[in-house]
Symmetry: C2
Subunit: 464 residues, 2 copies
């Protein structure tokens, strides 16, 4: 791929569009914008622009498209696969200034936002109106634009599904600068191919989301969390399919090991409510009446105890729940802080194959000589598996890492799983997507990319 380098004339054009004060060039660009949250992928854009609206982005795209300049859209840069790193230099478009909540429509239960609004801002805003935006990824400082671009899932997918399920409409700037609306404030749609669903999860390679209409739910009145210690991880995870089968509907089912909890205690400087057991399930139940929730969690508690759980710790105060879930939210950072470098594997497998997959990560740990930590969404089959460098030489780490990744993704495919549950493919996982999706699907994806972006200028080098 060959892109035009940025010239002085380009800078002047961009300054005209967005204002000089919203342009940052060359060595003025902060190091943060050269990478995302994981790995050693570093590449600076030639210029960072912070447009104010879709019209400005449209102008930039028209210009870049005509001249064949690479454009990388960027939310908060909290991704884990290099999706928002400017691999080919060029223009980086940050949506950080497009951070307004535009409309709460209580009659249609929708929230219209700009892409730069943070997940935690949406949560706080809708909660104040007694409403609920269910997707709940661990990283609350991610932008909603980024969440849409990776079809982020989070903890509550067991009961509520993923980001895709909560996007009613998108305003998108296409690579040639056209501004188009997909979907609407509508509940059903069967009007041609679902371009909206193509944009969701396309990691900024098909268009730039400039507005989103999100579907809201009434806020559940009550939530209760159960922390369930087990003598070992297998026992914990093997209980999950039994819970699903019991027809109880937990909001979330997370699994965690003592080692990860200890990392988190060190990192936060706070004790976890219990860390005596080797492994835990953390479950939440929500609903509108205590009876409704109790019926479910009593059934689940019974199943856990029957399957070897050591105890059932109930958290029904908000304070206690927040302390558990904030520890859970710090796992990624805590593991990161415990090592020199790491990379991750965000596989998703059928829910009844999670135990098998985790067992396989243990085998890889031994056979490839690489410390591996995992935690994740046992209830929806989405695992976050971290491969840690520790004291290994860089080259040796890279070699072992690659071998381990190949084996892990192969196994995921054998189990009927996919490369990524919610973090996406970005730059780092492209070769694994090729393996799992196969030639036929990849060729379709390439042609779709070509239909949207014939010159390949938008987020080049990502996904496919």
């Amino acid at each position: 791929m060959n892109f035009q380098p940025i010239t002085q004339a380009d800078l002047e054009f961009l300054a005209n569009i967005c204002g000089q004060e919203n342009l940052i060039c060359g060595s003025e660009i902060h190091e943060d914008f050269s990478h995302d949250e994981l790995g050693d992928l570093h590449r600076f854009p030639e210029i960072l622009v912070l447009p104010a609206n879709a019209r400005e982005i449209s102008e930039i795209m028209k210009y870049a498209n005509q001249r064949g300049m690479a454009v990388t859209p960027r939310g908060q840069g909290t991704g884990l696969v290099g999706g928002s790193v400017a691999m080919h230099g060029g223009i980086m478009i940050s949506t950080a200034r497009m951070n307004r909540i535009l409309e709460l429509d209580q009659e249609n239960l929708t929230l219209t936002v700009e892409p730069g609004v943070l997940l935690m801002e949406i949560a706080a805003y809708v909660e104040a109106h007694d409403l609920f935006y269910p997707p709940d990824p661990g990283e609350k400082s991610a932008s909603i634009g980024g969440n849409i671009s990776t079809n982020a899932g989070g903890m509550r997918a067991v009961k509520y599904g993923v980001t895709r399920d909560y996007v009613r409409a998108l305003e998108v700037v296409l690579p040639d600068g056209e501004i188009t609306w997909l979907g609407g404030k509508i509940v059903k749609n069967s009007s041609g191919y679902s371009l909206k669903d193509l944009i969701i999860g396309s990691e900024g390679t098909l268009g730039i989301v400039t507005k989103a209409v999100l579907r809201l739910l009434p806020r559940p009145v009550k939530a209760i969390s159960l922390l369930v210690p087990f003598p070992c991880l297998e026992k914990a995870i093997e209980t999950v399919p039994l819970i699903i089968q019991s027809k109880a509907v937990p909001t979330a089912i997370e699994y965690m090991e003592r080692a990860v909890i200890e990392n988190s205690e060190d990192f936060l400087g706070k004790k976890f409510p219990d860390s005596s057991a080797d492994a835990y399930l953390l479950l939440t139940f929500d609903g509108n009446t205590r009876e409704d929730i109790e019926k479910d969690y009593e059934k689940v508690a019974h199943i856990c105890l029957k399957n070897g759980a050591l105890d059932i710790l109930i958290s029904d105060t908000q304070e206690r729940q927040e302390s558990i879930w904030s520890a859970r939210g710090a796992f990624l950072e805590a593991i990161k802080a415990s090592t020199t470098e790491m990379d991750e594997c965000d596989v998703v497998v059928p829910r009844n194959r999670v135990a098998e997959f985790v067992r396989f990560t243990r085998q890889i740990e031994k056979e490839e000589g690489l410390r591996i930590r995992s935690f994740g969404h046992a209830g929806d089959g989405n695992l976050h598996v971290y491969l840690l460098r520790d004291q290994l030489e860089r080259d040796e780490f890279k070699t072992r890492l690659h071998k381990s990744f190949v084996r892990l993704y192969d196994r995921a495919r054998e189990l009927g799983g996919q490369v990524s549950g919610e973090h996406g493919i970005g730059f780092a996982k492209r070769s694994f997507l090729e393996e799992v999706a196969g030639k036929v699907q990849l060729s379709l994806m390439r042609q779709i990319k070509h239909a949207f972006d014939p010159k390949g200028i938008l987020n080049p080098g990502k996904v496919i």
Copy 2:
């Protein structure tokens, strides 16, 4: 579009693949296969084949693709837009023999089915296992393959969403005969562009669904229906946004007028529980405890009464509920039986615009001189508006119909709506999709079609 006519050699090839007994030719083809459920669109395929599995369909597609023969996939033919009519003759592939329920996976809460399984068969099967497949279109004898191809919605979309939300994975035969699996028994997926979501709602123009893995939910323990008479339709429909705003979560909110109820009484030869009022809302609430449901429906009953409802009729026995819902299920047939010919408009608008749109249908009725009846899903903004010929001359009807359609779809677009909520575009609504989607989106859709089906042999003349 020019397609190769079927020759004797083709018949022999197809007989070799599927068996002579699964081939029906020329004048042997029953008239039913020349049309779907609405309008005057009649066209016979040259040959009707009933393959047994994906492999046979793959062989047929390879052959047809090489030779440039038109292929029309067909479920139960219950569509309303000509989507399964063989507009260019050629081969019709019926999935009627592919009607097995293949697997109930209780650990992952999925049901794997062939495309020819009927909606009512799925409902009965999962109910027997105390499970629940939420999509609930009025036409229970539709096939699941057809439902997926139109992204069917039905009554329960208010609470549970549409078919798209319940398809975990698809096995698809592509136009060139490749068999590919999209998705998996997985809850989350962020692994490249969502080809699965492209196939859903593509009305058999991008591929033929040969297996589907459906997501199931535990069956709600209790359901209660409220039939709420109002003095006029406007009053009834204007109450819906207030219900949504109240944060109660009904499973379904349907609206109906006395005239339609009377049609249905005539058609079924059975009295509706009440037909004294001009208009009704019919609501269902489901849940796992009586308290949970009561809290919601009491709130809603109060809102209805405050907004002019004449009464609240509660149906909490299964028998009574079935009698109401079976009347509701007969509306389409009943209206059809009340006239000589009709066509329909399946628009979807934001929920707080339904009243405005219904008012506009009244205006059209007067101004264009065409009897119009409507009913539908007030809770999700999806209206079924029927334009009736009655004693009009055919040509005159066609003229008035077209003028009315243009005005109705224009208004839907102005209100932020779409051409079709759940019946699709098929053959009949293509020009209206062009209007509403606009050039940019249509061009993307055309290129996507070309990526999947460069020779344009699969369901030609549909959608775009």
